[in-house]
Symmetry: C2
Subunit: 578 residues, 2 copies
């Protein structure tokens, strides 16, 4: 039984980072991975934090809720006292999701976020009632704030959520521009088109370092405009004769707006399924980001059952086939008020996150079996990613004309593709392009950008229930083993005086074999265990229980493997009595 290796590139425990006149850029997450974005800019005694996100666990981390950045560097010697502020680019969880797990451990520094991001952060914080009230200051497009030696200017960038902010950070070594996640969109929904003039102005002011989103760097061409999505969705709405059930990420606020606008155009009212969907609709409506006519948004999704099918849109979570999300409940008939009817139109307006292809296929199959019409992004352009593709990235780099270029946000192959783009198509020299790993310390001076040999800890910190970082490799490896062949506990009561095993040993096994049908195997196992124990204990020596247990474990493990070709975790318990 093999246990998959964690990919770690920064195990160095050496936290000391040279103090110098360089600006230090220290990514704690988001490089070589999708999500968990967090980056420090440190200059002498000032540390600025950009974003504080989480990511979802890998498939080989069962039971884990999230992975958050490692903040050992900030905790060491209370270095966090130097934090001058946390600037938030936008309200997606891969940029804000770790706030409840980190903020109260680093001295509650002030947070700066645009109104929608602030609303989403505060709403989430309701689940963490015992924490100190968050200190969030509102910023908007054009805001400039002074934080220690840094001056941060926020500028609007298009993405899939409103209030997404790029950053121009004035530092003692020159301007650092952080693109945030972004795309260029001349016809966006629910917000202004990209302000190329402002981008040009920023570029003209001189950019020492461009930290640039890489998520779309392997995709050719230009990302789809939300206008194209709108037109295709319009066709689906126009031809649907029954209800429309649309599944998307609840974080795609602009897509939700499209669904509202289209529903109104086609005389449909809307119900919502899924906690995060309802929550985001509530926030965005309250803050004025979601525009709807009176009566369009129904209070309860059950209200759609009082309307003719062709006047109904249902917006729901679970487009990835998540077990407990709305769409799964609807298809299995577990949702209290909504189940599939023949003639329903199901629209998957989202991409499939790698790893979820199987469950999404199952969902599709189930809908088709129930005689619904299914539309998904492979059949028609009904989803656009929120990330700049190669042509947009080129335009961004050429507009900013940075001295140094550092791809951020994405798998290593994406960072690499972005770096090649900067070199091969935008004329940057290889030595001015930095592909870094989480935990590395990049020194930026007016003349040079260097990855130093020092590195700070940037391990996976796993959140499981209330535990932050308490589940480590040992626990995960045990879970992986348990899941493969189960566990086999054998409890023998041994008489201290005679060395004999009293009665028949108890066996507890789960996930190994179906016990009721394995009586002969269990009988043989007990016999072996008794023999193994008594061989040692009745020989007159003082029993070395560790030795006896090891014997039982190995002996029994071999026996079970020989009989079943499975290797359950074998745990012997010996209890002395008498």
């Amino acid at each position: 039984m093999e246990v998959k290796k964690y990919r770690k590139y920064n195990n160095k425990k050496n936290i000391k980072v040279e103090n110098s006149n360089a600006l230090k850029v220290i990514p704690l997450g988001g490089l070589g991975e999708v999500g968990r974005n967090m980056c420090l800019l440190e200059y002498k005694d000032s540390i600025l934090i950009i974003d504080m996100g989480f990511r979802m666990p890998e498939e080989d981390m069962p039971g884990i809720d999230y992975i958050i950045p490692d903040i050992s560097y900030l905790l060491e010697n209370k270095r966090y006292k130097n934090v001058v502020g946390v600037v938030i680019t936008h309200g997606h969880y891969d940029h804000i999701g770790a706030i409840p797990y980190i903020w109260n451990r680093i001295g509650n520094p002030p947070i700066y976020a645009a109104p929608l991001s602030r609303g989403i952060i505060l709403k989430r914080q309701d689940e963490f009632k015992d924490q100190k009230k968050l200190d969030i200051n509102e910023v908007k497009d054009g805001s400039k704030i002074k934080l220690g030696v840094f001056e941060v200017e926020f500028f609007r960038q298009n993405h899939s959520i409103p209030d997404n902010m790029g950053l121009v950070i004035k530092t003692p070594v020159g301007n650092v521009v952080h693109t945030s996640d972004f795309k260029f969109d001349n016809f966006p929904v629910n917000e202004e088109p990209t302000n190329f003039k402002k981008l040009e102005r920023i570029g003209k002011e001189g950019v020492q370092l461009l930290m640039c989103d890489s998520t779309g760097a392997e995709e050719l061409g230009h990302s789809l405009s939300e206008k194209d999505i709108f037109e295709n969705m319009d066709k689906i709405f126009a031809s649907a004769k029954g209800r429309i059930i649309m599944a998307t990420f609840s974080s795609l606020i602009n897509r939700i707006q499209q669904a509202v606008t289209l529903s109104e155009k086609h005389g449909r009212k809307m119900g919502f399924i899924g906690h995060s969907m309802k929550s985001n609709v509530e926030i965005t409506k309250k803050l004025g980001y979601l525009k709807s006519q009176k009566g369009t948004l129904l209070k309860k999704v059950a209200d759609v059952n009082n309307l003719p099918d062709n006047q109904v849109t249902i917006l729901c979570t679970g487009a990835q086939g998540e077990e407990n999300a709305g769409l799964m409940k609807v298809t299995t008939g577990e949702h209290p008020s909504i189940s599939i009817k023949p003639g329903d139109t199901i629209v998957f307006s989202s991409s499939v996150i790698p790893g979820n292809e199987r469950t999404v296929q199952m969902l599709k199959d189930d809908f088709i079996r129930q005689k619904a019409n299914v539309f998904h992004y492979k059949m028609m352009d009904i989803h656009a990613g929120g990330h700049a593709q190669r042509e947009e990235l080129k335009e961004m780099i050429k507009t900013m004309k940075p001295k140094f270029f550092m791809p951020v946000h994405g798998q290593y192959s994406m960072l690499f593709a972005n770096s090649k783009l900067a070199q091969d198509e935008c004329g940057l020299k290889e030595e001015n392009v930095i592909i870094a790993d989480n935990g590395q310390v990049i020194n930026i001076t007016p003349d040079k950008a260097l990855i130093t040999k020092k590195a700070v800890p940037a391990e996976y910190v796993m959140v499981d229930g209330l535990g932050i970082g308490d589940v480590g490799e040992v626990v995960i490896r045990d879970r992986q083993m348990l899941s493969k062949d189960g566990i086999f506990v054998i409890i023998a009561v041994v008489n201290r005086k005679t060395g004999k095993v009293q009665e028949s040993p108890d066996i507890i096994s789960r996930g190994f074999v179906y016990l009721k049908e394995s009586k002969e195997l269990l009988y043989q196992a007990r016999k072996r265990v008794i023999a193994t124990i008594e061989k040692t204990t009745t020989s007159g020596q003082v029993a070395n229980w560790t030795y006896v247990k090891d014997n039982v474990r190995n002996n029994l493990g071999d026996f079970l493997f020989q009989k079943t070709q499975r290797r359950p975790m074998v745990l012997p318990v010996i209890i002395e009595v008498g």
Copy 2:
């Protein structure tokens, strides 16, 4: 903690199937899923079996090796005595993989297979030495064999492996044509192009039922020819300056031939990594299916280390990122003789099986980090599937002009797409198109094709080590639970007379928390358990141990959840002494 539901559509235990003058088509696997292909044709006292494949487990079935077809129907009343033969379409495991688990339980019926399929089946059987020697008869393109009331003619079909056979089965109700997995290829590698004349002849003889591969039914257009793949691979070979490491499925024999031909053209010798790759190269070479010049194929892969890099091709398994396969070992440095060098060219000449996207991305990232050049099928056409796409399917249906049409091989959405194609583009009437589920019994008479209300068992039968079908839902559910939050066993020794718990209860926990760092939690847990037990046992009543254990389980479970928000499986053991 929710346990994902199995999707089952045939739970009926009613095995009785009406005897009649109808031909019964009984799919036992392969419908609504990819893999596990096996189908029965039954007419009165003759049963013909088509294929006997396995499939890989779903992600929610940890520890399971394969899923094989349910043969309860054949076992009941030794109905298998009516089996007149097993015809094999081709040598892929989704068509032959279940033979070692089924053949010796159904009376060892004669098997009919083409030479390469036979060779692969026999090679695999080496791993099952205690079984009776397989009875396999060779057939070839044009072979006609009489099996009970059936006469089977084999006809060559293009796919990704040589010796792939479609079937024309003459039955008392008319001809049944089974396409096998297929594609049309006018420029294949290593074999003849599609014989359209023969297909036309078969169509003209009249086709009562066409059972047609559906795997590609959602893909537009025509599948790529192997010639196109060859030309693109040629470009990669021509430009590679270092070694070429090519990963593909070992079952894609024709792709392996391409690699050999290209290596010879570009002056490279070849090493092989991976058990199944070496095994398939050996079989196909021995049987004359793999053509190579003397000296091209090296005996040991380590021999490549004696050659200049630009004279080396390494062919290896593990293109899906499988844990123990060749490619993973090469990238992690665990392979004894091959590791990555800067300048290596890595070619992923395979598609990514849904569910494996994450691990393949990890592999890609690791190669790029090690400064290799990576090519994969999304960047360039260096992989073609072996399955007919929509244009080919249309041509097949129009050539066969079947009275009845039954899509086989594929997820439900694929079967559905194939059925719509037959209706909307080939003019079949809806009532003549049969979308069936595994276990359903389809009655074919000269006039009608009907899915009957009877169904035979078609459950998932899971193979885990030596166990076939002994791991059921209970064990799987336990494995899922164990993997999420682990296990917590508490062992209390209770004095029978006093009702007191002796000493401190033992705790064994795995996959829950890191015990060394959870002393306080364990202390509290012990205290609670003692109190819970003694509340009952010292009250003077005779203790009801089941009741006590339930109390401990619930009480302790709630306590642990409250403290950690995790729900380990809690197993209390109470031992009475004294």
